[in-house]
């Protein structure tokens, strides 16, 4: 009958559609996705095979030259490693209980790892972070007292572990490689210290606290001794000025930290404040404080800058990225400073390109 065969045909047709559908689904599952798919990384996923990052809780300065291997296979860090061994720097970071998680944590995650040794100085001990307890109070007026106690602690426990002793704040970013380059030309047995030199109040000038300063071994010995023998006063509400006065009394030289083209290396502000003309108003104290003629614009800052201050957590990581990661491939930098003489001899076999000639950059 016509209706019966029509019904049969219909079921046959439905069956074939159903069969086709089931089969195509099975095939697509079996063979996996084909055709274009947007990459599963929405943006900038970390490396699939990234090894876990270098020592987190270690106080000992840990240089993990194997982190980020594939992105840095063209990179030769022999000179950096050599300087790490030759110019030993102990860093201590001025912080407080309230700031360990807010600020000091990001210092620890970035530049602090490049110190030969790093200590976080707080009024109270914190075993987990870890932070040294100086047994002081907190507050701006306690800064000098904390500084004295911190240097004393470093002197008593780690004097032989380093040649130079750097003080920084928990909002200072320090480029250790560049600090080593700067200090490699100087003798740690000499009484000298470096930082961003300010001119008022102290004849030979004094170093800005926030931009960080670094004492030679001899300078540290004299400083700690000064309080035992009452050569310097304990009380002051202005840490960097008080230290600077003390240094002058002790005949510790205020060094010139500028690079070979005369550009400053320690900076009391973030790059933007120095690079942008007019950012710091002409009435700002800074213009009268700088020991050397202050410069704004590109001449403000050395290519081999050592420090920046008032660096918030985001900017810490940005600087880390700009200095140690992002670079212009193949670019021949204008400023090609010389390798320190003693280091140069030791690596001369491996380091035989024209970069060794000193080429003065534009002022």
């Amino acid at each position: 009958m016509a209706s019966k065969s029509w019904l049969n045909f219909l079921t046959f047709f439905c069956g074939s559609l159903f069969g086709y559908f089931i089969c195509s689904q099975l095939f697509s599952i079996f063979l996996g996705e084909q055709g274009d798919t947007q990459p599963s990384i929405l943006h900038n996923d970390p490396h699939a095979r990234h090894s876990d990052d270098s020592g987190h809780g270690h106080l000992e300065g840990q240089m993990d030259f194997n982190a980020d291997v594939s992105q840095h296979t063209d990179e030769n860090t022999d000179v950096s490693k050599k300087l790490y061994q030759k110019v030993k720097i102990l860093c201590w970071v001025m912080t407080g209980p309230q700031n360990l998680e807010k600020k000091a944590k990001h210092v620890k995650a970035t530049w602090a790892q490049r110190c030969n040794k790093v200590l976080f100085m707080s009024s109270e001990e914190n075993i987990d972070f870890p932070a040294v307890g100086l047994k002081t109070k907190e507050g701006r007026d306690q800064l000098y007292w904390k500084t004295i106690k911190a240097f004393q602690y470093v002197h008593d426990h780690y004097l032989d572990d380093a040649d130079w002793f750097m003080k920084a704040d928990d909002d200072t970013y320090v480029v250790l490689d560049n600090l080593r380059w700067l200090l490699s030309k100087h003798d740690p047995e000499k009484p000298i210290y470096f930082g961003r030199r300010f001119k008022p109040y102290v004849k030979q000038g004094y170093m800005s606290g926030g931009a960080g300063y670094v004492l030679s071994k001899e300078a540290l010995k004299r400083f700690v001794d000064a309080f035992k023998t009452d050569k310097c006063t304990h009380s002051s509400s202005i840490e960097d000025l008080a230290l600077g006065r003390c240094m002058e009394i002790l005949n510790v030289e205020a060094g010139d930290s500028r690079d070979t083209t005369g550009k400053e290396t320690f900076h009391p502000f973030v790059p933007e404040h120095h690079l942008i003309r007019g950012y710091l108003p002409k009435t700002f104290w800074y213009w009268n404080y700088n020991y050397y003629p202050p410069v704004e614009g590109p001449g403000c800052c050395s290519d081999l800058a050592v420090s920046f201050h008032y660096v918030d957590p985001t900017t810490m990581y940005e600087l880390e990225y700009l200095i140690y990661h992002l670079r212009p491939y193949g670019y021949l930098y204008r400023y090609q400073p010389a390798l320190p003489a003693n280091i140069g001899k030791e690596i001369s076999e491996a380091y035989k390109n024209e970069d060794q000639k000193v080429k003065l950059g534009n002022p």
């Binding site: 069956g15 559609l17 069969g19 063209d74 990179e75 790059p271 690079l275 700009l322 491939y329 193949g330």
Partner: protein, 327 residues
């Protein structure tokens, strides 16, 4: 009796259903197999080559002699097109003083003449029209002199050396259209915000189509306006040029539509233990959404500020531009 007949009827129905199913499955299997043999292999290659462009293998680089390297470096001639409007004047100034100095040539295409700066007047406010006219102008005038054309807005900061590195050893005769791609339905297009790179072959094909209204309409989209970067993709598609996303050897995007700061903030939220690793490529070419001040900071941060004692064995050599003091 009725019951039996119904059962019988059901049986014949179900058997025809089953027969249909079998036929359908066989048909489907045949089609899938055939399609797989023909497209499958090509698809995989297509997927690999066309959608995720990665830079050259590092081992190959070391086999090249120094003279060859210098010659190779000079063989990339990048012409930069920056589309500006009068309101962009402070970004325009920043861009002019910073990264565009590293293009082999950079020109500013403006919606209208601006007193303070030289520009090529596109005489239109419409971005898509500006883009078309700029591409036409650039191709007409410079097709013999440049082999790569980079288009950006003045909110973008670009590192041209890294662009050249990325393009290193690519077959320049092929049509390339790359940057930070976005998929919108069926269309994959390069986002204007990350910057758009076209090879000379793509420029040639694009220009031949720009005069054909059906392929490259001046007024795309009936109901609402389609963004200029999508329009470009549609146009290029007709010419057989497809968008490709540029990634580094780790799979990180090399053309970025946001600023470094923004990626850092996101990484601080999403992967606080590995902020810098999670941020951005070492060989990033572009970042976007920068303020004029940030352009100057990037210039210092990229071309000057660095760590002493870290030396790189690069295959290409790029010299600093003449008459510049911020790089």
């Amino acid at each position: 009796m009725l019951h039996a007949r119904r059962q019988g009827k059901m049986f014949s129905e179900s058997s025809s259903f089953l027969k249909g199913m079998m036929l359908g499955s066989i048909f489907c299997a045949l089609i899938t197999m055939l399609g797989h043999i023909r497209i499958g292999h090509g698809n995989r290659m297509h997927h690999h080559e066309h959608h995720h462009l990665q830079p050259i293998n590092k081992e190959d680089i070391l086999k090249i002699s120094k003279d060859e390297r210098m010659e190779l470096s000079k063989s990339f001639r990048v012409y930069c097109i920056i589309l500006v409007k009068p309101k962009d004047v402070s970004l325009w100034a920043a861009v002019k003083e910073t990264w565009t100095k590293h293009c082999d040539k950079a020109e500013f295409f403006s919606s209208e003449n601006v007193k303070v700066f030289e520009s090529i007047n596109m005489e239109t406010d419409d971005m898509w029209m500006m883009m078309r006219k700029a591409y036409e102008y650039a191709f007409d005038k410079y097709k013999e002199q440049y082999n790569w054309f980079f288009l950006a807005r003045p909110t973008t900061f670009a590192i041209i050396e890294n662009l050249k590195y990325f393009l290193f050893k690519k077959d320049q005769s092929r049509p390339f259209y790359l940057g930070h791609t976005i998929k919108s339905g069926d269309l994959e297009y390069v986002s204007m915000e990350g910057g758009i790179v076209l090879s000379i072959e793509s420029m040639k094909r694009l220009n031949s189509l720009l005069s054909v209204p059906e392929k490259c309409p001046e007024q795309g989209g009936m109901i609402w306006k389609i963004s200029e970067d999508k329009q470009l993709a549609v146009c290029l598609k007709y010419a057989g040029v497809f968008a490709e996303n540029a990634e580094d050897s780790e799979g990180k995007y090399v053309f970025n539509t946001k600023s470094v700061g923004l990626y850092i903030k996101e990484a601080m939220n999403n992967q606080p233990q590995q902020v810098v690793e999670g941020c951005c490529s070492d060989m990033a070419v572009t970042f976007n959404g920068l303020t004029p001040n940030q352009m100057h900071v990037m210039m210092y941060g990229v071309y000057r500020l660095r760590a002493f004692g870290h030396i790189f064995n690069d295959a290409l050599v790029f010299l600093p531009p003449n008459g510049s003091n911020n790089d």
